[in-house]
């Protein structure tokens, strides 16, 4: 696969510049208000500005020196900027990613059909319902559905996949995406989206924050953080009265510093960046999400419905063995197989010829026979295909019962050993393809599914995450069971019809499970809508894309597995940084509380376990640490905490140790180091 080059550097220059500008724009209290934690910091900063100006004007030093107040003000201001920068850089990255996808489709000429005449207009003027024509070499101007024709299309601009794909009207592969290129043929396309309302546009709007709504989990976390903020408000307000009782005067700068240090600014500042980065990571995996909630839900999934073909097995079945019936010559049988398959363009047919060649069968001799032969195409009615050769020989191959009926109608009983063989093949996961010559069974071809290498390890990984995998296949139950066992899926739906998927999803949902599925056809649409996470393939029909809540640009059925991990990462990053942020407070207390009271209660020097230089340096160090920890954690917020499928309890243990334990220890070290530096200046 020739994947399009993606820039994965966290901080690209132009993005950083844009984010810097945004950091200031976001200082607007009306925007800030959405984030209660940082909003309180903004209020604190405003108060410090006032105190600084006051102490400058009045020469009153009861609130500390001008320099000290000014330093606190600057650090608080930086804290705000850092938090804004985190959000802005996440937005910028997401937008850049989306824009690079969108760019291709901007201002391409479109051959619009107006009253049966073709008129070239700009792509941006196309509205839903318009019809345009694309010919070889044209860039498709916007998203739409083919209503006439068939074409090969290069979708590498969107998917990064260089191999061209076939799109045609009527079927499940009728959808085309703006920005892709028609390589051959001519299609008539109807526009399916209004300008600015395509999935990409929606995604960009989500990232930009215009329509970004907080997800339920984000809301719950914000409540918890607001709760902590309120507790610390109570702590700081009541401290004023306690200090009065203890005859200690505390400066406004010290109160605000204590408050800002205690409230969970680290997670508060990074929270929206984490959410945006989650969607951005999905986009980098070439998945467009219609809402942030979908990504979050993905982390919770319990059941994945996976189509067998393309996901679990490599594309199509391959012939692996020829079994002639009793009394039939092996070479003669293979020759029949080849004859019936030479004109058969299906992958199975080709694989039969290939197998025959590899067993030494000569195909040249048969060419003569094929001259006036009539090829009989596969139909759902006869469930067989074959060839009628001019010398009167009729060869058919097809499903066991179809051929059996055919032969029995003609009065030919088939040999018992054939029946045994057919069952044996089926129970080994193969598909028996029975071959008859002039309504007499001559043998059976074994077709086998080739399971993708490494797929069972991926299912094992999912199992450890607690996700159940379900294989959906049109195969009979026997074959399905064999492949399911071999691939390591937990369950399967055999002989699946579209409504079976729907019923299975409903059944699991009734048990309280969250179900995801992938689909592309119009008949998948109801199930995609029913599923908690429905991933539509970009090549799929418009109906499917509307029904799902994600669109996979790569049309890669294994993408669901990646999506689950992205969702888990998103939640974990939030959880671990919350823990880290709150655990930090222990050290900050030990820095600030002794600093507040040391002058009036010298015995409390014993609490200054970090041996910080002076009360002023202690407070400054704590506030500086509190500010710089935000930019230091931006990379982690953007990349996400690594997910390891080691079971929930082990994961909790690991994260509690790293982020909880680390959260307690790191600030002790950090504040001490900063204090040593600050001590030089005061």
């Amino acid at each position: 696969m020739a994947k399009r080059q993606r820039n994965t550097a966290l901080f690209q220059k132009e993005l950083v510049n844009e984010a810097l500008v945004q950091s200031f724009v976001k200082l607007n209290p009306r925007i800030m208000f959405r984030n209660p934690v940082m909003f309180t910091v903004e209020i604190g900063t405003a108060v410090m500005l006032y105190v600084t100006v006051y102490s400058m004007m009045s020469k009153d030093t009861s609130e500390g020196s001008v320099g000290y107040n000014f330093s606190i003000f600057v650090i608080l201001f930086l804290t705000l900027l850092f938090a804004n920068f985190a959000e802005a850089i996440a937005e910028a990255r997401g937008k850049a990613q989306a824009n690079s996808l969108r760019k291709t489709r901007e201002e391409t000429p479109a051959k619009k059909i107006i009253a049966n005449e073709i008129k070239v207009v700009s792509s941006s003027s196309l509205i839903k319902g318009d019809v345009f024509i694309c010919e070889t070499g044209d860039i498709i101007p916007t998203d739409g559905e083919i209503i006439e024709g068939i074409a090969t299309i290069d979708e590498s601009a969107i998917t990064g996949e260089s191999a061209p794909v076939i799109r045609e009207s009527g079927g499940d592969k009728s959808s085309v995406t703006g920005g892709t290129k028609v390589l051959s043929d001519k299609i008539k396309v109807q526009v399916t989206t209004e300008p600015g309302e395509s999935f990409l546009d929606k995604m960009i709007a989500l990232v930009e924050g215009a329509s970004r709504q907080k997800t339920p989990n984000e809301i719950a976390l914000t409540i918890l953080l607001a709760g902590f903020t309120l507790i610390f408000t109570i702590v700081c307000v009541t401290l004023k009265f306690y200090a009065d009782y203890a005859h200690t005067s505390i400066t406004i700068a010290a109160y605000i510093s204590l408050f800002v240090c205690l409230i969970p600014t680290t997670i508060g500042g990074l929270l929206s960046a984490i959410g945006i980065a989650g969607m951005d990571r999905a986009l980098r995996a070439n998945v467009i999400t219609k809402s942030g909630k979908a990504v979050e839900t993905a982390g919770d999934l319990d059941v994945l419905l996976l189509d067998k073909t393309g996901t679990i097995t490599i594309g199509n079945r391959k012939a692996t063995n020829f079994y002639p019936s009793v009394g039939v010559d092996n070479e003669k049988f293979i020759a029949d197989c080849v004859l019936s398959s030479l004109s058969d363009e299906t992958p199975e047919g080709k694989s039969i010829v290939e197998l025959a060649k590899s067993q030494g069968a000569k195909t040249q001799a048969t060419d003569a026979l094929l001259k006036d032969a009539r090829f009989v195409k596969f139909s759902a009615e006869t469930r067989s295909s074959g060839i009628d050769i001019s010398n009167g020989v009729r060869i058919r191959k097809g499903a066991f019962d179809a051929i059996k009926n055919l032969c029995e109608k003609a009065g030919n009983q088939l040999h018992r050993d054939m029946e045994v063989k057919v069952k044996e093949i089926a129970s080994n996961g193969g598909t028996p393809l029975v071959v008859s010559e002039n309504e007499k069974v001559v043998g059976v071809i074994e077709l086998q599914d080739i399971i993708k290498p490494g797929i069972s390890e991926r299912f094992e990984r999912l199992r450890k995450m607690g996700v159940k995998t379900v294989m959906v296949t049109g195969d009979n139950p026997l074959t399905a069971k064999y492949i399911a066992g071999k691939a390591g899926v937990d369950d399967f739906i055999a002989e699946a019809k579209p409504e079976d998927k729907m019923n299975y999803i409903k059944k699991e949902q009734k048990l309280g499970k969250l179900v995801a599925m992938m689909g592309d056809g119009t008949n998948d649409a109801p199930a995609l809508a029913q599923a908690d996470v429905g991933v539509a393939m970009n090549s799929g029909t418009q109906a499917a894309k509307e029904a799902g809540n994600m669109v996979d640009l790569d049309n890669d059925p294994t993408k669901l597995i990646e999506i689950v991990e992205i969702g888990k990462q998103l939640l974990m990053t939030r959880g671990t940084l919350t823990t880290f942020s709150i655990a930090n407070d222990v050290a900050k207390y030990f820095a600030i509380v002794p600093a507040l009271f040391i002058t009036s209660i010298p015995a409390l020097q014993a609490l200054n376990i970090m041996h910080l230089h002076s009360p002023a340096s202690a407070i400054l160090s704590a506030v500086i640490f509190n500010a710089i920890i935000i930019p230091m954690l931006i990379p982690l917020a953007l990349k996400g905490v690594t997910y390891k499928p080691i079971g929930a309890s082990a994961l909790l243990q690991r994260n509690l140790f790293i982020y909880g334990g680390g959260g307690v220890l790191i600030p002790f070290i950090g504040i001490k180091l900063i204090d040593m530096a600050v001590a030089f200046f005061i």
Binding site: P216, N217, A220, L221, I223, L224, A226, G227, F228, L230, I231, F232, I234, V235, T238, K240, F241, Y242, D244, Y245, A246, E296, G299, D300, D302, R463, K464, M465, G466, V467, L511, G512, K513, G567, K568, L571, M572, R574, G575, T576, T578, T579, I582, D585, V586, Y589, V593, F597, I601, A603, L604, L607, G647, A648, S649, L651, L652, Q653, N655, L656
Partner: protein, 569 residues
């Protein structure tokens, strides 16, 4: 020393040994299964019939809480009436006066909410009628209220989706007839056999050793009726002013053991009851483990510090080999007193057998921490409710840490539940810190007018005020004493802290459980975070530690911690 220590260990082990089977029994009672005491059924049915209650009618969480608040309001009015009129009502052989309105308000609430903060002294402030029909009665029903609320939560946590959480009145009556009454009767008999008075005769006149006309009046009364439920129901309100340090309330080491065991019995048993009720014994042991760890972290330092005595006094040449004996009874000694001091504060009893005011500064801090957490075993029924809030917060954070929307016992924890949990957590911080701030402000503003408030100004005085609100909020009822608390300011502010500190922390968990019960049940998968593991236990402990430490650190620094460092310098 060794026998003293052994005594303490024996008390703990005996309690545990009794709590496990008793927990199983409680689970049976609330499940409505057959049990030994089914002969009470006619009595229960009689009560239901005369009050017109259909005990089989299922109630949702809101109906249960309305029922709880209604019956509590009735008792409050009843108690106010008795206390404000006790002077002329019968059964007053000592001719004690009626209570003033602010004292009656404080006292009525105090007993109603299972707090038993006593701003009066039993000998002179209450009549036998008040002691029995008001105090003892409220001690029974307030304990049953907590138990019934816990039963509603138990029911809500079952693996199913429903609004129906059983009948609150049924849980309430059964808590009385099947759990509290029978044990109280048995224990009362044991107490009487050990010399606890049970009489309506009024003060006794006793000749002193000098003989002749030198006599003392000694208060007695129907003490044995009250003391069992005082402990069993984690009430703690004593018959006499000095509570279980009084020889009539706690005649000897044996009664001390019994009082110790029965006050810890139900809080511990409720944990195991939860395990049996939900068929999740491992989960119960996890909770028990966390609670016990917290308990030990508080009780062991206290026993050591009290045993070591006060270094400042030792410097003066006073022998400290018996430990810090100021404010302690010689018959109990330092270990048993230190053990009691934490037992009575981790659970919400608040009875004392020694004086917390005289404990070492950091022992005092541990007592306050025990009440600030209020969930290491915790009060009768309500302890497990308080712990439930910590579980919800821990589940939420740890769920996020493993990358899954948090769920607890198959139910998703979402914004609404978090909101309630946060409000409940916030509330205790607000009540304790806000109350103390108000008192500090008042005191600092008028140190002369309020000089009578604090026996010891300075850090210790601050601790006394902090302790008072901590105890009120935790519905504990013990006092640091040394605080002149029978003033309208203290009576009224502490009264409100008690009401809010009682009912919101009951309604909150019940509401969360009720909302969870109504949610879709999600069976466990390999990705679900198991809540019955050691790791999760550590997580809960960390949440409790962090929330408490972060909320109260500055206040504790200015009180006991400053006092401690001043003492050793």
């Amino acid at each position: 020393m060794n026998s003293e220590l052994l005594g303490v260990i024996l008390m703990f082990v005996l309690t545990l040994a009794l709590a496990i089977p008793f927990g199983k029994y409680i689970a049976k009672v609330y499940e409505g299964e057959k049990s030994l005491l089914d002969f009470f059924a006619p009595l229960e049915n009689f009560f239901f019939r005369i009050s017109g209650i259909d005990a089989k009618k299922e109630m949702n969480w809101k109906e249960s809480m309305v029922a709880l608040l209604t019956i509590n309001l009735v008792w409050f009015l009843f108690a106010m009436f008795i206390l404000m009129n006790q002077g002329w009502l019968p059964m007053n052989p000592d001719h004690n006066p009626s209570m003033s309105s602010d004292l009656a308000f404080n006292t009525a609430i105090s007993f109603l909410v299972n707090c038993n903060l006593q701003d009066y002294s039993g000998e002179t402030g209450a009549t036998y009628l008040s002691q029995l029909v008001c105090f003892t009665f409220l001690q029974f029903v307030s304990a049953a209220t907590g138990l019934a609320a816990a039963a509603v939560v138990f029911n809500a946590l079952k693996a199913r989706t429903t609004k129906d959480l059983g009948n609150f009145y049924n849980y309430f009556i059964k808590s009385l007839t099947r759990i509290l009454l029978p044990i109280s009767v048995v224990v009362a008999i044991l107490f009487m056999m050990n010399g606890m008075p049970m009489t309506f005769d009024g003060k006794n006149t006793i000749s002193s050793l000098q003989g002749g006309t030198d006599t003392v009046s000694v208060s007695t009364g129907p003490v044995a009726a009250m003391i069992p439920i005082k402990h069993l129901g984690t009430n703690g309100g004593g018959f006499f002013g000095v509570n279980s340090a009084h020889p009539f309330e706690n005649p000897n080491y044996f009664t001390n053991i019994i009082e110790m065991i029965i006050q810890l019995l139900i809080p511990m048993a409720m944990v195991f009851a939860l395990g049996y009720y939900l068929r999740k014994k491992k989960f119960a042991w996890m909770i028990f483990g966390v609670m016990t760890l917290g308990f030990l972290c508080l009780v062991i330092p206290n026993m050591i510090m009290e045993q070591h005595g006060n270094p400042a006094i030792a410097k003066m040449g006073v022998d400290m080999s018996a430990g810090a004996m100021e404010g302690k009874e010689v018959r109990f000694g330092t270990p048993a007193s230190a053990y009691w001091s934490i037992v009575t504060t981790v659970i919400s009893t608040g009875s004392v057998n020694s004086f917390h005011d005289s404990f070492m500064p950091l022992s005092g801090m541990n007592e306050m921490l025990a009440m600030m957490v209020n969930a290491f075993y915790g009060g009768c029924g309500v302890g497990i409710l308080n712990f439930f809030i910590f579980i919800i917060i821990a589940v939420f954070i740890s769920g996020l840490m493993v990358g899954r929307t948090p769920e607890f016992l198959g139910k998703k924890i979402e914004a609404r539940e978090m909101k309630i949990a946060v409000v409940v957590t916030l509330l205790s911080a607000l009540l304790i810190k806000g109350g103390t701030a108000l008192a500090s402000y008042w005191f600092a503003a008028n140190p002369v007018t309020h000089a009578g408030w604090l026996n010891n100004p300075g850090f210790h005085g601050f601790s006394e005020m902090l302790y008072q609100y901590t105890s009120s909020n935790a519905n504990n009822g013990s006092g640091f004493e040394g605080l002149g608390d029978n003033t309208p300011f203290w009576n009224i502010t502490a009264g409100f802290v008690m009401i809010l500190g009682r009912f919101l922390p009951i309604i909150g968990p019940v509401a969360i459980a009720g909302i969870l019960a109504n949610k879709k049940y999600i069976p466990e998968s390999a990705g679900t975070l198991k809540t019955d593991t050691v790791t999760f236990g550590v997580m809960i402990f960390a949440v409790i530690f962090i929330v408490t430490a972060l909320s109260y650190f500055p206040a504790l620094v200015l009180g006991p911690i400053a006092e401690y460092f001043s003492m050793i310098h």
